[in-house]
Protein backbone atom coordinates (compact mmCIF):
# COMPACT_ATOMS: atom_id res chain seq x y z
CA UNK A 1 0.00 0.00 0.00
CA UNK A 2 2.79 2.42 0.93
CA UNK A 3 4.57 1.41 -2.25
CA UNK A 4 1.54 2.31 -4.38
CA UNK A 5 1.13 5.66 -2.60
CA UNK A 6 4.80 6.43 -3.15
CA UNK A 7 4.50 5.70 -6.86
CA UNK A 8 1.39 7.91 -7.15
CA UNK A 9 3.18 10.66 -5.20
CA UNK A 10 6.18 10.38 -7.50
CA UNK A 11 4.01 10.62 -10.62
CA UNK A 12 2.22 13.68 -9.21
CA UNK A 13 5.54 15.37 -8.41
CA UNK A 14 7.02 14.69 -11.84
CA UNK A 15 3.93 15.76 -13.80
CA UNK A 16 3.62 18.89 -11.62
CA UNK A 17 7.27 19.73 -12.21
CA UNK A 18 6.87 19.22 -15.98
CA UNK A 19 3.88 21.56 -16.01
CA UNK A 20 5.90 24.18 -14.16
CA UNK A 21 8.70 23.69 -16.70
CA UNK A 22 6.26 24.21 -19.56
CA UNK A 23 5.05 27.39 -17.81
CA UNK A 24 8.62 28.64 -17.77
CA UNK A 25 9.08 27.73 -21.44
CA UNK A 26 5.85 29.49 -22.35
CA UNK A 27 6.93 32.56 -20.43
CA UNK A 28 10.04 32.76 -22.60
CA UNK A 29 8.40 31.90 -25.90
CA UNK A 30 5.00 33.58 -25.98
CA UNK A 31 4.95 36.76 -28.05
CA UNK A 32 3.32 39.45 -25.92
CA UNK A 33 2.47 40.46 -22.39
CA UNK A 34 -1.08 39.10 -22.24
CA UNK A 35 -0.10 35.70 -23.64
CA UNK A 36 2.76 35.54 -21.18
CA UNK A 37 0.38 36.29 -18.33
CA UNK A 38 -1.34 33.01 -19.15
CA UNK A 39 1.97 31.21 -18.81
CA UNK A 40 2.98 33.06 -15.68
CA UNK A 41 -0.24 32.45 -13.79
CA UNK A 42 -1.97 29.31 -15.04
CA UNK A 43 -0.07 26.07 -15.69
CA UNK A 44 1.53 26.65 -12.35
CA UNK A 45 -1.87 26.34 -10.62
CA UNK A 46 -2.36 22.75 -11.75
CA UNK A 47 1.37 22.10 -11.45
CA UNK A 48 1.37 23.36 -7.89
CA UNK A 49 -1.75 21.35 -7.04
CA UNK A 50 -0.05 18.19 -8.33
CA UNK A 51 3.17 18.91 -6.43
CA UNK A 52 1.15 19.54 -3.25
CA UNK A 53 -0.79 16.30 -3.78
CA UNK A 54 2.46 14.46 -4.25
CA UNK A 55 3.88 15.97 -1.05
CA UNK A 56 0.70 15.17 0.88
CA UNK A 57 0.77 11.53 -0.26
CA UNK A 58 4.41 11.25 0.75
CA UNK A 59 4.22 13.09 4.09
CA UNK A 60 0.93 11.59 5.37
CA UNK A 61 0.88 13.85 8.41
CA UNK A 62 -2.17 15.86 9.46
CA UNK A 63 -0.15 18.97 10.33
CA UNK A 64 1.65 19.02 6.99
CA UNK A 65 -1.47 18.23 4.99
CA UNK A 66 -3.47 21.10 6.51
CA UNK A 67 -0.64 23.49 5.65
CA UNK A 68 -0.49 22.15 2.09
CA UNK A 69 -4.27 22.59 1.85
CA UNK A 70 -3.95 26.25 2.86
CA UNK A 71 -1.21 26.78 0.25
CA UNK A 72 -3.52 25.31 -2.40
CA UNK A 73 -6.54 27.39 -1.37
CA UNK A 74 -4.65 30.67 -1.18
CA UNK A 75 -2.78 30.19 -4.42
CA UNK A 76 -6.06 29.38 -6.19
CA UNK A 77 -7.74 32.41 -4.64
CA UNK A 78 -4.94 34.88 -5.37
CA UNK A 79 -3.57 33.77 -8.76
CA UNK A 80 -6.55 35.07 -10.78
CA UNK A 81 -6.52 38.40 -8.96
CA UNK A 82 -2.80 38.89 -9.60
CA UNK A 83 -3.24 37.90 -13.25
CA UNK A 84 -6.14 40.29 -13.65
CA UNK A 85 -4.32 43.24 -12.05
CA UNK A 86 -1.19 42.80 -14.19
CA UNK A 87 -3.13 42.05 -17.36
CA UNK A 88 -5.35 45.08 -16.91
CA UNK A 89 -2.47 47.42 -16.11
CA UNK A 90 -0.51 46.07 -19.07
CA UNK A 91 -3.43 46.44 -21.45
CA UNK A 92 -4.13 50.00 -20.34
CA UNK A 93 -0.45 50.86 -20.65
CA UNK A 94 -0.64 49.75 -24.27
CA UNK A 95 1.69 46.78 -23.85
CA UNK A 96 -0.65 44.30 -25.54
CA UNK A 97 0.40 43.68 -29.14
CA UNK A 98 -2.61 44.69 -31.19
CA UNK A 99 -1.35 42.89 -34.29
CA UNK A 100 -1.68 39.55 -32.55
CA UNK A 101 -5.28 40.11 -31.53
CA UNK A 102 -7.83 38.59 -33.86
CA UNK A 103 -10.55 40.58 -32.15
CA UNK A 104 -10.45 43.31 -29.50
CA UNK A 105 -13.87 44.07 -28.05
CA UNK A 106 -12.44 45.89 -25.05
CA UNK A 107 -10.99 48.59 -27.30
CA UNK A 108 -14.32 48.87 -29.10
CA UNK A 109 -16.06 49.29 -25.75
CA UNK A 110 -13.48 51.87 -24.67
CA UNK A 111 -13.94 53.80 -27.91
CA UNK A 112 -17.67 54.01 -27.31
CA UNK A 113 -17.24 55.30 -23.78
Amino acid sequence: MTGVLDVVAGVCLIVGALLSLSAGMALMRFPDLLSRMHAATKPQVLGLLLVLTGCALRLRDAVDITTLLLVAVFSMATAPVAAHMIGRAGYRAGLARKDLLVLDELREADDRR
Binding site: S22, K42, P80, H84, G87, L100, L103
Partner: protein, 178 residues
Protein backbone atom coordinates in the same frame (compact mmCIF):
# COMPACT_ATOMS: atom_id res chain seq x y z
CA UNK B 1 -27.69 45.97 11.81
CA UNK B 2 -29.79 43.23 10.31
CA UNK B 3 -29.68 39.53 11.08
CA UNK B 4 -28.24 38.71 7.65
CA UNK B 5 -25.29 40.99 8.34
CA UNK B 6 -24.55 39.16 11.58
CA UNK B 7 -24.84 35.81 9.85
CA UNK B 8 -22.30 36.94 7.23
CA UNK B 9 -19.94 38.08 9.98
CA UNK B 10 -20.36 34.77 11.77
CA UNK B 11 -19.46 32.88 8.59
CA UNK B 12 -16.42 35.13 8.08
CA UNK B 13 -15.30 34.63 11.71
CA UNK B 14 -15.72 30.86 11.34
CA UNK B 15 -13.65 30.86 8.14
CA UNK B 16 -10.87 32.89 9.74
CA UNK B 17 -10.84 30.61 12.79
CA UNK B 18 -10.55 27.52 10.60
CA UNK B 19 -7.62 29.09 8.71
CA UNK B 20 -5.93 29.98 12.01
CA UNK B 21 -6.29 26.45 13.34
CA UNK B 22 -5.04 24.98 10.05
CA UNK B 23 -2.01 27.29 10.17
CA UNK B 24 -1.14 26.04 13.64
CA UNK B 25 -1.80 22.51 12.51
CA UNK B 26 -2.99 21.36 15.92
CA UNK B 27 -6.59 21.10 17.10
CA UNK B 28 -6.29 22.14 20.74
CA UNK B 29 -8.66 24.38 22.74
CA UNK B 30 -5.94 27.02 22.88
CA UNK B 31 -5.63 27.35 19.08
CA UNK B 32 -9.43 27.37 18.72
CA UNK B 33 -9.93 30.15 21.28
CA UNK B 34 -6.95 32.03 19.86
CA UNK B 35 -8.48 31.72 16.41
CA UNK B 36 -11.82 33.13 17.54
CA UNK B 37 -10.10 36.06 19.30
CA UNK B 38 -7.98 36.86 16.23
CA UNK B 39 -11.02 36.54 13.95
CA UNK B 40 -13.07 38.97 16.04
CA UNK B 41 -10.19 41.47 16.18
CA UNK B 42 -9.61 41.22 12.42
CA UNK B 43 -13.31 41.67 11.62
CA UNK B 44 -13.59 44.66 13.99
CA UNK B 45 -10.44 46.42 12.81
CA UNK B 46 -10.90 45.67 9.10
CA UNK B 47 -14.65 45.60 8.52
CA UNK B 48 -15.58 44.19 5.10
CA UNK B 49 -18.17 45.68 2.81
CA UNK B 50 -21.36 43.64 3.05
CA UNK B 51 -21.66 40.84 0.51
CA UNK B 52 -25.23 39.88 -0.15
CA UNK B 53 -25.61 36.19 -0.66
CA UNK B 54 -29.16 35.19 -1.41
CA UNK B 55 -28.39 31.86 -2.98
CA UNK B 56 -28.61 28.30 -1.85
CA UNK B 57 -25.98 25.65 -2.34
CA UNK B 58 -27.03 22.62 -4.38
CA UNK B 59 -24.59 19.80 -3.61
CA UNK B 60 -25.15 17.87 -6.84
CA UNK B 61 -24.64 20.95 -8.99
CA UNK B 62 -21.56 21.85 -6.95
CA UNK B 63 -20.11 18.42 -7.73
CA UNK B 64 -20.94 18.82 -11.40
CA UNK B 65 -19.30 22.25 -11.43
CA UNK B 66 -16.19 21.00 -9.58
CA UNK B 67 -15.80 17.96 -11.82
CA UNK B 68 -16.13 19.98 -15.00
CA UNK B 69 -13.78 22.61 -13.59
CA UNK B 70 -11.06 20.04 -12.87
CA UNK B 71 -11.32 18.43 -16.33
CA UNK B 72 -11.26 21.89 -17.94
CA UNK B 73 -8.17 22.78 -15.96
CA UNK B 74 -6.33 19.58 -16.92
CA UNK B 75 -7.25 19.84 -20.62
CA UNK B 76 -6.41 23.53 -20.84
CA UNK B 77 -3.12 23.06 -18.98
CA UNK B 78 -2.14 20.37 -21.46
CA UNK B 79 -3.07 22.69 -24.35
CA UNK B 80 -1.05 25.63 -23.05
CA UNK B 81 1.89 23.32 -22.28
CA UNK B 82 1.74 21.90 -25.82
CA UNK B 83 1.61 25.43 -27.20
CA UNK B 84 4.74 26.30 -25.24
CA UNK B 85 6.71 23.52 -26.91
CA UNK B 86 5.34 24.10 -30.40
CA UNK B 87 7.94 25.83 -32.52
CA UNK B 88 7.31 27.94 -35.57
CA UNK B 89 3.82 28.95 -34.46
CA UNK B 90 2.95 32.33 -33.04
CA UNK B 91 -0.27 31.98 -31.03
CA UNK B 92 -2.83 34.62 -31.90
CA UNK B 93 -5.35 35.70 -29.33
CA UNK B 94 -8.47 37.80 -28.87
CA UNK B 95 -10.07 40.02 -26.25
CA UNK B 96 -13.77 39.30 -26.20
CA UNK B 97 -16.61 40.86 -24.24
CA UNK B 98 -19.00 38.45 -22.56
CA UNK B 99 -22.16 40.00 -21.07
CA UNK B 100 -23.28 37.75 -18.23
CA UNK B 101 -26.95 36.98 -17.88
CA UNK B 102 -27.23 37.28 -14.09
CA UNK B 103 -24.53 39.67 -12.93
CA UNK B 104 -24.58 39.85 -9.15
CA UNK B 105 -21.33 40.93 -7.48
CA UNK B 106 -20.67 37.48 -6.09
CA UNK B 107 -21.66 35.66 -9.27
CA UNK B 108 -19.46 37.95 -11.34
CA UNK B 109 -16.51 37.37 -8.99
CA UNK B 110 -16.93 33.61 -8.92
CA UNK B 111 -17.28 33.35 -12.70
CA UNK B 112 -14.22 35.55 -13.17
CA UNK B 113 -12.17 33.54 -10.68
CA UNK B 114 -13.15 30.18 -12.13
CA UNK B 115 -12.49 31.47 -15.64
CA UNK B 116 -9.09 32.84 -14.66
CA UNK B 117 -7.96 29.60 -13.04
CA UNK B 118 -8.45 27.70 -16.27
CA UNK B 119 -5.40 28.22 -18.48
CA UNK B 120 -6.02 29.91 -21.80
CA UNK B 121 -8.41 32.54 -20.50
CA UNK B 122 -7.53 35.68 -18.58
CA UNK B 123 -9.76 38.46 -17.32
CA UNK B 124 -8.46 41.78 -18.66
CA UNK B 125 -11.22 44.02 -17.40
CA UNK B 126 -14.63 43.90 -15.76
CA UNK B 127 -17.55 46.23 -16.34
CA UNK B 128 -19.23 45.75 -13.00
CA UNK B 129 -22.17 48.05 -13.66
CA UNK B 130 -23.25 46.26 -16.81
CA UNK B 131 -21.91 42.85 -15.82
CA UNK B 132 -19.53 42.39 -18.74
CA UNK B 133 -16.34 40.36 -18.53
CA UNK B 134 -13.52 41.17 -20.95
CA UNK B 135 -11.64 37.94 -21.45
CA UNK B 136 -8.30 37.44 -23.19
CA UNK B 137 -8.31 34.10 -24.97
CA UNK B 138 -5.10 32.40 -26.01
CA UNK B 139 -4.63 30.70 -29.38
CA UNK B 140 -7.74 31.77 -31.29
CA UNK B 141 -7.95 30.70 -34.91
CA UNK B 142 -10.98 32.61 -36.11
CA UNK B 143 -14.52 33.90 -35.46
CA UNK B 144 -15.81 30.33 -34.90
CA UNK B 145 -13.57 29.71 -31.93
CA UNK B 146 -14.42 33.13 -30.51
CA UNK B 147 -18.13 32.30 -30.55
CA UNK B 148 -17.46 28.84 -29.10
CA UNK B 149 -15.49 30.42 -26.30
CA UNK B 150 -18.21 32.97 -25.57
CA UNK B 151 -20.66 30.09 -25.24
CA UNK B 152 -18.22 28.27 -22.94
CA UNK B 153 -18.13 31.28 -20.60
CA UNK B 154 -21.93 31.45 -20.50
CA UNK B 155 -22.08 27.70 -19.80
CA UNK B 156 -19.62 28.17 -16.96
CA UNK B 157 -21.79 30.96 -15.57
CA UNK B 158 -24.88 28.80 -15.66
CA UNK B 159 -23.05 25.92 -13.94
CA UNK B 160 -21.98 28.31 -11.17
CA UNK B 161 -25.49 29.69 -10.79
CA UNK B 162 -26.93 26.19 -10.70
CA UNK B 163 -24.47 25.35 -7.94
CA UNK B 164 -24.54 28.51 -5.81
CA UNK B 165 -27.13 30.88 -7.25
CA UNK B 166 -30.29 32.43 -5.88
CA UNK B 167 -33.75 31.82 -7.36
CA UNK B 168 -33.62 35.27 -8.98
CA UNK B 169 -30.38 34.40 -10.76
CA UNK B 170 -31.82 31.08 -11.91
CA UNK B 171 -34.78 33.00 -13.24
CA UNK B 172 -32.44 35.31 -15.17
CA UNK B 173 -31.03 32.26 -16.93
CA UNK B 174 -34.44 31.86 -18.43
CA UNK B 175 -35.38 28.77 -16.48
CA UNK B 176 -38.07 27.97 -14.00
CA UNK B 177 -36.79 28.79 -10.50
CA UNK B 178 -35.93 25.63 -8.61
Amino acid sequence: MTGGRWRDRGVAALGLTVIWVLLWGSFTPLTMVGGVVVAVIVLTVFPLPPVTYAGRIHPLSVLRFAGRFLTDMVLASAQVAALAFRFGHVPRSAVIAVPLRAPSDLGLTMTAEALSLVPGSLIVDVDRKRGILFVHVLDVSGPDSVERFRQDVLDLESRIIHAFGSPAERHALGEVPA
